[in-house]
């Protein structure tokens, strides 16, 4: 079976991007009025909806700091392969627990003892890099909910194929089963929060993947940062505080 070429002789990827180019990212915050924070994030054709509720009262167990709960699910219509969403709950549990642990350390949970924050993530369209899309969406939803955070977490994936390292993989690139890494870093310190490497890679490729993914994260951060800024300024403008903050806009 002749394999589809992932990188053309001109150095372009299947969707026309260059290797070190992320997809178009658009995000909308606060789209669900009932949730404390919500975000609809599109990374190319990957669409993720994240909602955050909390901090709210925790009834069952007492704890000295707030706890975080996370649920991740993929809509059954999210991918071409309809079974994928249902196939195993385990993947979702693992994904949810990894996202939960990522945010456990960045949220200042000791500020709200005996309470909890719930995160719900729904993948509406899966076209690769769902894990990083989910993390980015949750970050923005957290910002939207106004939960105190040490830093922003941004995530991006990187993969190695046909002797090239590319960032922000799409679905076609993901199913090649080549070495691929999803990295999440703290935006300001650039320290690693979460990392997942799938398929084996030599030490050199791994090092390369981390460097590229990190670059991708920073690109992602620029986009997220500007959309958060725009959203916040719009909010402020709509509340007639433009006079005070106008100079920044």
């Amino acid at each position: 079976m002749p394999r589809e070429e992932l990188i053309s002789p001109d150095g372009l990827r299947t969707d026309g991007r260059r290797p070190l180019e992320i997809r178009k990212v658009t995000c909308r915050m606060g789209i669900l009025p009932r949730a404390d924070g919500s975000c609809h994030l599109e990374m190319g054709n990957t669409i993720v909806l994240a909602t955050v509720y909390g901090p709210r009262e925790l009834s069952s167990r007492q704890s000295s700091c707030g706890i975080i709960r996370c649920e991740y699910s993929m809509a059954s219509f999210a991918s071409t392969d309809r079974r994928r969403g249902k196939r195993s709950d385990r993947n979702s549990v693992e994904m949810a627990s990894s996202i939960k642990k990522t945010f456990e350390n960045v949220l200042l949970t000791d500020l709200f003892p005996k309470s909890r924050v719930d995160i719900f993530i729904q993948v509406l369209q899966a076209d690769g890099s769902e894990r990083s899309a989910a993390i980015n969406a949750v970050t923005i939803a957290m910002v939207n909910a106004g939960i105190p955070m040490k830093d922003l977490i941004v995530s991006c994936s990187a993969g190695y194929m046909e002797n090239t390292t590319v960032m922000d993989l799409n679905h076609v690139e993901m199913i090649t089963r080549g070495p691929q890494l999803t990295l999440a870093i703290y935006a300001s310190t650039e320290r690693m929060a979460t990392a997942h490497l799938e398929s084996k890679a030599s030490f050199e490729i791994f090092e390369n993947l981390i460097a590229i993914a990190k670059k991708g994260c920073l690109q992602m951060f620029d986009v997220m940062h500007s959309s958060i800024e725009r959203y916040s300024l719009n909010l402020i403008a709509s509340r007639d505080h433009i006079a005070t903050f106008g100079s920044r806009a």
Binding site: R90, E94, S97, R191, A193, A195, S199
Partner: protein, 389 residues
Amino acid sequence: MRDEPLSLLEKNFALEALQAGIRVDGRKIDEARLVNFEFGSQYGTVTVRLGKTKVFSSAIAEVVEPTIDRPAEGFVTFSVDLSPMASENLMLEYLYSGRTSSTLEEAAEIVRFLQQIIRENQAIDTETLCIVAGVQVWAIRVDIHVLDHCGNVLDACCMAAVASLLHMRKPVVTVVGKDVFIHGIDEREPVPLTVHHLPISVSFGIFLDGDLIAIDPSIQEESVMEGTLSIAVNAHKEICAFRKAGGASIETSLIFKNASYAYLRATEVTVQLEKALKDTYSRNAVASVKPLQVETTKKSFPLNEQVQGVTTVWKQVAKQSALEDKEKTVDQPNITSVTNAEMEIFIDDSEESYTKSDELSASTDSDEETAPAVIARPRGGKGRPKSKK
């Protein structure tokens, strides 16, 4: 060890000791606990001990229909049972979360990791598991049971899975026309699986807000750590999986140092695993069985060379206690040995003074060449421990 609530004293001390460059159990920061592989009499069964953590794994093969999109490939599936018997904390987890053992977060993570390092990395050749393309293939099921949860269960589970896949045999199959004959074990010697490489998982605990990373955390350290870092490496110096699921953030530059530690540890474990396998074969004297050869650099683990003085003695002591409780019983059949055996009472067959020995030894499994007569409770009727099944 019984699970007890840890006091602040212990938690603080674990950190204090780490800061001073040692661990609560006497190890150094970059020193992992001892691993011990014990293969069962049945193909594919193994008990792995990592320090006090104990994991049992068994692999079995069954004939199933392949999927439509991959008609010529077999399956390798995993299940991890973190049963409440492994620790009291787990029991509480079940009570509060209302989950079943397979959907427990920790279990799901381990299974996912195993799928990644073994299935997605093609550690087992799934194409050789095909019997008749599109009709019948072998499905290898690896069931892992965590018996004692004393820290770093992930590594123990991964080692157990790899070891039982190495040790397991699938029956020989002959296909004549459309008929498939599966030969029994006594008819034809079953064949081992095709193993391409051995991914060994090495986990690190992250402490002090990401400034200190220590290999192979024990249960006391797990209670104070701020995240883990798991790296699966094989003897070809390939990273099969890298996972840092949240927790405290770390400098990316630190990772490469840990990756090379992981590689050293993985080579050490691989050598040990092969040796254990070889010993088992020579003991069972199965002539037709060839132990699998995996390239390894024969370089000894430099971390071990640093261990001198006190730690060596502790290692011996730890080794002693890590070895079967039964050995102690043989050595010194007094109250102290009974202490270790807990509610199990170990009885040495040779002691004539023991009046009930006749009735007890009748139920002893004679196949177990190394184990002395291990009887749970004489009055209980069925005295054999479950694990022998």
